[in-house]
Subunit: 194 residues, 2 copies
């Protein structure tokens, strides 16, 4: 069986549905590129929550065996494989305000727009969307709690796999922030469903 | 001038309004007790956001000089004094699900109920309420990203002061989770407005 690999062009988003038990593979085709994932239960009642994930999981660094929890305290996704081992679940998705305030840029592509647009196409409420799971995003926390955004650790072809624990609407974004992706032009991400 | 000190009994919540420029002092009267704070703009349009606070502030450990940001990327509060120097902004407020799943307890007092009830009395929408600012809550992050909840560092009489950067509705809770407060019976917190 050959799986269909969906490419999300640099700076763009994608929308998909997962049935309970299906798997989603997130792929960095070229290396050094991160993306954002947000998940909402198909019925629209439960949304991804980093605060509850930290509470139930007890860790900031999620990898194989960890789960992503909802704001109603149910697991939405389980990480079942992970080539990369470092992702971020602290930073709000990049957005118009962030590009304006931090970089003086207007009309920059951003993860918030990509994710909310994707959720709209799936007919689930686009907001609230406080924090997405920033796969392959590499944030170093120093001993004073200061955050340092580093280049992603992912090499070309690296991936992670998540299993849906309920029927889900999923929004993805190939992050267009140079800062989060090694500083140069940003690149595509890809996914497969099986 | 003698300020009025408001006591929030152990496990209870409180609601107040702050005008722009007013100060809120959060006090641990007995020592070793943490609390939750959530802030919403008086017009209901902007809510406290840890993800945007981490993005604009670049640190997990907030203290004097740091600001608490809204989900619309404006500062809501500035920390202008802090005897304690360690607070948490990672954990979702304790809630019915958490007590049920982690401790097998039902009908336990919790910060989520206290905070949402307080916001209702102020006529601002009680949700979404993903993560509150957990003042005096002491979470150690080890080098593997694992989270360890320790006893608060606050001693009897310690306080912190926050200045309102816009007109705000504020919800407070004296956290009723033994785990977050040294393991014994939980205690009151207090506040002053000036």
């Amino acid at each position: 069986m050959t799986l269909q690999r969906h490419i999300i062009p640099a700076g763009h988003g994608a929308a998909l549905r997962l049935a309970r038990g299906q798997h989603l593979r997130l792929i960095d085709p070229e290396g050094g590129q991160s993306g954002d994932l947000f998940a909402v239960s198909q019925d629209g009642r439960q949304r991804l929550s980093n605060g509850r994930t930290f509470d139930f999981g007890g860790t900031l660094y999620l990898s194989t065996g960890n789960q992503l929890w909802s704001d109603e305290s149910e697991p939405l996704l389980t990480i079942v494989a992970d080539d990369v081992g470092r992702h971020d679940f602290l930073y709000a998705p990049c957005n118009d305000d962030m590009y304006r305030i931090q970089y003086g840029l207007t009309d920059h592509p951003n993860c918030y727009i990509n994710l909310t647009a994707a959720l709209r196409t799936l007919n689930v409420p686009p907001s609230p969307l406080p924090t997405a799971f920033n796969f392959f995003m590499n944030v170093e926390i120093d001993t004073n709690g200061k955050l340092h955004i580093r280049a992603p650790r992912s090499r070309a072809g690296d991936s992670m796999v998540l299993r849906a624990e309920m029927d889900l609407a999923i929004a993805l974004s190939a992050c267009p922030a140079a800062t989060c992706n090694g500083g140069g032009p940003t690149k595509p991400v890809a996914y497969e469903v099986f």
